[in-house]
Structure formats: structure tokens, C-alpha cells
Amino acid sequence: MTALVAAPLGAVNYAEPWWAQLIKAFLIFAIGFSLVPLVLLYERKLLGRFQNRPGPNRVGVYGSMQPLADIGKLLFKEQFKPRGAIGWLFVAAPIISMVAALATMPLIPFSNRPQDIFGTPVGLYGLDSEIGLLIFFAFSAIGSYGILLGGWSSVSKYSFLGAMRGAAQLISYEAAQGLALLGVVMTTGSLSLSAIVDQQGDQHVWFLVPQIVGAFIFFVATLAEINRTPFDLLEADSELVGGFMTEYGGGRFALYYVAEYVHLIVAGAMFSTLFLGGWHIPFWQGAPGFIDPFVVLAKTLVVVSVIIWIRATLPRLRYDQLMSFGWKILLPLATLNALVTALFVVAPWS
């Protein structure tokens, strides 16, 4: 079992028994799915506060049941399929989106200290591969198919335009996103996410400080990657009605919707892993091991709040502005950042 999953993906720190892997897999999805309604509610509440209104407050205590009501309503709606839509693609597209979003979740390291469970050391991550970062990019690349196929198979002009926008936006911002991380990777010398966090712990400084440019580019590109304002062009409700998901409703729409929030959570967690020191707490070296996951979650929450704040503040970019911003500003900047970092890593003067 270990040989099957872990070994081909690179060296692992701990060989875990198969039951531990199964339980971990189950837990990751359980936690991932249960975070989604929380973030949903959090976003609506926070947006409400930004906009001088209470936000949802009717369902449950302080609206706590609102996301469940939302998703429940969507699930019980009619599974609508427009006439002329390509059936199986139309059904498969949101599933692809969902799977691609969820598949990145095991990559988030919550702690590198194995927790002792019934005498068995278990690492608090789904998968700590040597090439974890690359796997993250691979799955976000697959995620673009969910959008592309969803838009294409709806046989609607709005969906088509949204899908085309989406595909172009995703593949162009992926380049900047990857290049922005080169600095981090070069400094660490590894593509493993837990190694990157460890490096930040060893250096006693988060990568946010030395890699501030990279962090900025990664953050902006991630906003584009997960279709958040100001880059939510492929939804663009005022222009393209709903972009690629114009024709979706009910449960399929709910899949897209949940996938978007899984993306949001993963983006927040990834940013805090790469640039905010993961589970490390500044000026507290001897933190007990069990709080590590909560530290990561807290940092994720901060990043998610910033993303929501941006949504409350900024308008949408235009399509050409978005593309030229990505290609003409972010990409050269990321390249420059990689170059400068490389100089410092090699340090020919010393």
C-alpha cells in the first residue's frame, strides 16, 4: 500500500499502516467538506458587515444554518439540463471541478510532527510528496477542464464566452503563479510543502518577508486562479449572467459552488503554508504539537478574510486588462523575482 501510493510520488517521512491512510483520507474529505459551509457563512457574514447589514440571520442561531439551507435548497431543485446540451459532458464538468478542487486538499501539511495514535505515528497531512507543489499545480490545471467543458457543453453563448474567458485566464495566470513560487523553491531547495514550512521554521522568518514580491504575485494569481474578485470574469454576473455556469442549476450548480469554496480554502491554506510559515508561531518555539493544525487553520482564515475583503472592495477588471496585467506585469515581475532570488541563493560574491 505504501509502495503503491507514496513511493512513486517520492520519498515519505513515515511509512504509515494502510488503516491510518484510509482514516486520514476520510478525515481530509470530511474536514474539507465541513469547512465549506463554515467559510460560506463566514463570507456572507463578513460581506454583510462590510456592507452595513447583518448578513444572514434568519436560519438558525445568527444564521448559522444558512449555508445548509442554501445547499439543501440547491440539492432539492430540479436537475435542469438545457435542450441541446451535451448530456454526459454537462454532468461530468462540475464533477471534474469538484474532484480537482478536493484533490489538492491532502497536500496541505498541518504538522510535520507525527501524532501518536494508538502507538502508531501518523503524520498530519494527506500526502507529503517530494513534488507536492507540482501536484498542486497539476490538479489546478485539471480544474480548468471543469470550467471549459461546463461552458462548452451547455451550448449557450454566455456559457461559451465565460468558458473561453476562463480557459484563457486560468492558463495565463498559472504561469505567473508557478514562477512566483520559484523563489520559495530555490531558497528551500525542495518542492515538498512540509520542507518549505520547515525551512521557514529553521530560518525564523516567514517567506512573506524575503519573498514579498513572490507572495504578492502568488496571491494575485491565486485570486485569478480561483475566480475571485477582481478576477471573477468568467462568472461576471453583470456581463455574462453567470459565465460558464449560466445554464447550471440545482445540484450541479451546488457542485460548482462548493468547488469554488474548496478552492478558496485550499488557496488560503496554501498561501499560509508557503508564505506564512505554516504551523509555526513566531516567538514561540516550544508550542505543543496538537495546536499545529489549528495554527494552520487560523492563518488560512486570515487569508480567506483578506480575499473576502477584496471582494467587498474591488470592482471587476475588464478581460483585456486582466490578460495584459497577467502577461505584462505579473509574469515579468515573477521572472525578475526568481532571478534576484537565484542571485541571493547562489551568492557568487560570498
Binding site: D237, R316, L317, R318, D320
Partner: protein, 504 residues
Amino acid sequence: MSSDDDKRDGPVPEDGSAASADREHDSDASTTERERGARVADETSATTPSASTPGQPDEGGGRSTSADPEGASTGAPTATALKEREEDWETIAKRYRADEATIDFSSQLGAVATQDETELLTINMGPHHPATHGVLRLLTTLEGEVIRDVKPIIGYLHTGIEKTAEDKAYWKAIPVVERMDYLAYYFNAMAYCGAVEDLLGVEVPKRAQYLRVIHLELNRIMSHLVWLGTTMLDLGAISILWYAFRERETVLDLFEYSSGQRMHTRYFQIGGVADDIPAGWADKLQRFLDEMPTRLDQYEAMLSKNEIILQRLKDVGVLDAESLQAWGVSGPLLRAAGVPWDLRKAQPYSSYDDFDFKIPVGTVGDNYDRYAVRIAEMRESVKIIQQALDGLPEGPVITGDRKVALPPRHELATSMEALIHHFKLVTEGMRVPEGESYYPIEGPRGELGCFVRSDGSSKPARVHMRDPSFVNLQAFGDMARGEYIADMIATLACLDPLLGGIDR
């Protein structure tokens, strides 16, 4: 009659693509109609000619078969004619059903779409679209994301208000016309009342004029706030909608306090306003006036310094002043292009010449100018209201002419004459001397003119509203052509069309 009938064959398809079968169909239909028309003409009097059709529904979509002059002959439907009409309905319905299936919208697209361009994509934006501000339909031809042509198609909200107003007594028509441009109800009422007062020749008391100014300018602020919120929502900035609506709620509360209604207040009467402002209203208004400039500063801090907003608005939707004037555009759109034409200054009505205010103008005529002009207009409106409130004269709020305005309530118990006036006004309404009047005012969207013709009776013989949205919309195609979709939406939002006003 018969000479017209001969011309019915006129609009045969000029298009070479029209099949010969279509020609036969056309001529068959017109033959039967001609016969029927002749028969009806025999049976009915000369002034009530055929209730026949105004031509076939457009088969090519664009061919103007309904431009048939025969449509002009629809007269008073007598019983026979109505019966004929019912028979017509069946044939019409059948033919309409058949034609509906063959409507080819591409022929409505004008010159662009008919070129041999395979990369063009036609999108029907609306009537159900989140950014068309109502039920506007935009037949848009795209090349990639670039607008090559756009046709506004209107009429989905037509409510026949002008016709309805003809069936009401003069003072009962006020709430009807108020409902046209549903964000500028005070302006609608003002234009109508002004036109009727013009015909009557009554003098509006100074206090009423000032109260009107206060409410008009509050209404202008309210309308611009809705514009601000929805426009920024179209650009993707969601929060500003809530901020703008917070202030709008304050204004609406003021309206409710002074007139009992939040919208469509029917506060303006012919000859004045319905009632004096209640106690404490001035204090509330003063609080709003103190607050509003800081609120505007906050909006500007959020929007005017936002790089994305500036990128999205600047140099977008530019149309020079000459083209705008040729299209008949007025109001903030025209002022944004640098023409300081404002009826409040140029042809002051309702004591606007008493107040000191400025006309904000733009220089380029792009969407940013339109945005900035409206923001500045709100500031000027606040100034006007402040002056009107400070200088609010004492006196009656409605004219003392008992033939026009209802007598005060207390007089009814003591004065027989007042009772008679009251009875006559309520049952029949006022009689307005024969004449015509066109009364233009400066609405939040441009020149809002009301034309009223009186035939001496107690009901207006014709009420026409020259609604600025309706006229301004014509310039939209020129503004939007060559833009991206996103910019077209922004341009439409900055045009600030109101479908209630456009369709009336």
C-alpha cells in the same frame, strides 16, 4: 379608403431571398383584407373605416410591412368592426404563430451582421439580463468580445400611461404620470403639474415652489444614488450599492415623513403641493444635508481613487458633444461632454433662479466624466436644498384659486361656497382652458418635458411625456460600438436608462 387599399400591395418583399411562395402568401392575404375592408367600409360610416390589420407581422423581421399606411385607417370600432376584428384575431393568431417560427433575427442586425463575417456572434442580452436595468433587450453582435453592433429593443414595459392619463381628470392623472420614470416621480409630477398650471395660468405660491425644489433635489439625489449603486454593481463593486442605498433610504424616509409615501408620493398638486411639511421635518432634512457631503466624500474615497474603477471608466463610451446633441441627448450625459446646459439655469422654473449653484461639466464625455458629473451634481443638489431650506418663505403651500385647489378642510364646515367648490373638484375636476403646453424641466436624466393639450373639458386631451431615457437611448449604439462587452455594460449603466421612462 380605396386609394389606400391599392397601396396595400406595396410592401412586397424586396429581398431577393424571399421565396416566391412568400409573395403569393402576401398577396393572398392582402386581397382578402382588401375585400373585407371594402365590405366594412360599406357597412360602417366613413369615419369608422376598416378595423383591418396594419399589415402582416414582420416576416423578415426587419422589413417594415407594418409601415403600411393602411394601419392608419383603424378607426372607432363599432360593433361590426369589433366583430370583424375578432375574426381577424383568429387569422392573425394563426399567421403569427407561423411567422414566429420563421423569425430570423439576423436580418434585424443591420449592415454589420450581413457582411460575410463568420466570426460574428449574436447575443440577445435581455430582456432578462442582470445588467440591462430592467427589461431592455440588446441585440448585440460580437466579434470575440468586441461589440460590432448593438440594437436596443424596447417596449417590454409599455403600460400605456399616456393613454390612461387621457381618461382621468387632471388632478387624478398625477399619480398615473408619476409612475413612468419610477425613480424620478417628483420630476414627472412637476412636469405635468407645470404644464397644467401653464394652461390654467395659476400662480404657485413661493413656499410651494421652494418645497417643490427641496423635494425635486432630494429626488435627484435619490435617483443618482440608485444610479451610483447599480452602476458600480455592474462594474463588480458590490458594496457601494449598499452604501448608496443607505442614503437613499434616508431620503425615502424624508419623503414618507412629508407626504406619507416613500415612492410615488403624489405630493405635488396642480397649483402647489399637497400639504405643508410636518413639524420636525426640517430638522431631519438638516441632519441629512449635514451628513450627505461626507458620505459623498466617502464614495469618492472608495471609487474615484480606485485604479480599477478608473481604468474601467476612463475613455470608455466616448461620444462627442455634437453627436450627443444630434441624438437629442440631454442632462448629465451632455454635461459630461462639456456642454453646460441645464434648464434650472437656462430657463429657470419653480424659483430655481433664487439659488446659487453650479453646473458640473466634464471635458471628455467618457464614462468617468458621467460618473464625476453625477457625483458633483449631488453635491450641488445638497447646496440647493440647503439654500431652499434656509430661505423657506412663509405662506400658503397651494394656490388660493378655488377653481383649481381644494379649499382647506376647516372651510367646509363654514362656507357653502367652499363646499360647492369641493364637490365640483372632487366629482368632476377642474376645467382647464383650451390650449397646448409643453413644460420642460431638468430631470435627473435630462430634459423631462410634459406636453398637455386641453380641449376645455375636465380631462386632458393629450398627455405626452418627453422622457430623457427614451431619447438618450438612441445614442447608445454609437457609444457602445467598438467596446468590449464589459465596457458596453458600463456604458449602458452610465447612460442611466430607466425602462419605466423609456417604455411609459
